[in-house]
Amino acid sequence: MIRAESLTKHYGALHAVDGISFTVQPGEVLGFLGPNGAGKTTTMRMLAGFVPPTAGRAEICGFSVEDQPTEARRRLGYLPEGAPSWGEMTPREFLDFIARVRDLKGEQRRSRLDDVIGRLHLGKVLDQRIETLSKGFRRRVGLAQAILHDPPVLILDEPTDGLDPNQKHEVRELINAMAKDKIIVISTHILEEVEAVCSRAIIISAGRIVADETPAALIRRSRHHNAVTLRFEHAAGLNEAAADLRALGDVDHVEIDEATRSVTAFPKGNALILTRVADLAGERGWALSQLHLESGRLDEVFRSITEKEAA
């Protein structure tokens, strides 16, 4: 379990992190979201024991990060922001060093090394200096380092930054595969990633937690949740269609986007209006190229939450 109790970090007058508390249980994948400078990295550094908190405390598997640092660190795999390593080493030397520091011996060391090298597809670059590797490979070397000792707790600061879409997909698969029995905390800017891998999302803004929910619940906060968007073949008749939709029961209001020739109907409350809208479209014989139910937009929720806080 990870436990953070009123973690606070002040740099002079700047309150980088301001009393953050949460616990994470095994099986949970927690996504840390927030604008740049909101305190994500500082929070993760306090959890990993790199930055001492000004106040509050952090625990990893029952061990205090500050008072029993070695015990806590043994149970933690940590990918620092930017995946730093030693550029003059090769991934083979680097991972071997990490294995030795982590006290992996003999057969266990060999099998763990083989496992992470295979999982992160590092076989081809094992003997190249890390400083000559692409950003994507460097990130994967950093991830390999973090999971090498098969820790119960993983803290990954922007694990997919700098990866191409295929690599991102692979890393997400990796996280999903490990998620079952581990505690995983990741920070990310990529909202789709939260939907893809996280079972829980915490949004931080100006050093405070402003939302702590499942990604699905966050999406439900979106004003687009359950809205229906119709895309028309022709621009003519958009306004008439919008008026018809507005007259429909349970429709709160309608927005027209001339550029994409689409009309979006927003329901009152959480009412389901899809069938009625579809019936109406059939009745009127509208020439539609698309008709779909919006699940909600995470970026919109993110913006509305964090901008409200920052204002």
Partner: protein, 244 residues
């Protein structure tokens, strides 16, 4: 502790993974030769001892050892690898000692590679090899003292050049603590006890004592204390500002 050994091993390999080791050793040996044979008048003295060789060690170390020490922590800080190192399950003390030992072993290697001059003096005459061995030991201890000072200054700075310059200045003060250039600063206002303490801190005095062939435990203890104190200061500096 296994942590110290693993970290020292990684460090030491890192020296040889870059041109640093090669450049340092070549320059170290070349300067040693220049100083000994030209400035020291090794042949002209026509004496079978190595004092013209060892006399220049403190001055050579004054510039070369801080060049090794400046990267110890400043580089880790700059590249961000300090965050990785400090979140691995090793204590700060183990990391400090491991990195120091690697740097010390490296200077020991450079020093050991001056062996041809020892062969030369044995070929030409009949020197007291006990004195030479003692002087090598003293030289190594002094290098350790300089490295420990450099380690602490490097931990406090992100910029290697700044770390280098500050280290040179502090090493210079320690080197000459027993001489007027430093003592005059204290003269007139400081109590005699302080002046005596400061003059007792001189690297040069302790080194000269050992290099005469008299291994007084007090001199060895002195260098041991200097190394321990500066390494301890390094851990405190790191704990305080590792993330800054």
């Amino acid at each position: 502790m296994s942590g110290i050994r693993v970290i020292a091993g990684r460090e030491l390999r890192a020296y040889f993974a870059t041109p640093l080791a090669f450049v340092f050793i070549v320059i170290f040996l070349a300067l040693m030769g220049v100083f000994t044979f030209y400035l020291g008048g090794f042949y002209e003295r026509a004496q079978a001892d190595l004092s013209p060789f060892f006399n220049f060690h403190p001055w050579l170390y004054l510039f070369l050892v801080p060049a090794i020490a400046m990267r110890l922590w400043a580089e880790e800080r700059k590249s961000g690898s300090i965050e990785l190192l400090m979140t691995l399950p090793v204590t700060t003390t183990a990391a400090v000692i491991g990195k120091f030992l690697a740097a010390w072993a490296f200077t020991a290697l450079a020093l050991a590679l001056t062996f041809p001059i020892w062969i030369t003096v044995n070929y030409l005459g009949d020197p007291d090899n006990g004195v030479i061995l003692a002087a090598y030991l003293g030289s190594l201890l002094m290098a350790g003292g300089f490295l420990a000072i450099g380690s602490c200054i490097s931990a406090a700075n992100r910029n290697q050049v700044v770390a280098f310059i500050i280290t040179v200045v502090i090493c210079f003060l320690f080197l000459l603590a027993g001489f007027p250039v430093v003592l005059d600063f204290f003269g007139g206002w400081a109590p005699q006890a302080l002046i005596d303490t400061v003059s007792g801190l001189s690297f040069l005095t302790h080194f000269n004592a050992i290099s005469k062939g008299v291994i007084d435990l007090r001199d060895v203890f002195y260098f041991g204390m200097v190394i321990a104190a500066w390494l301890y200061a390094t851990t405190i500096v790191l704990e305080m500002k590792k993330a800054d």
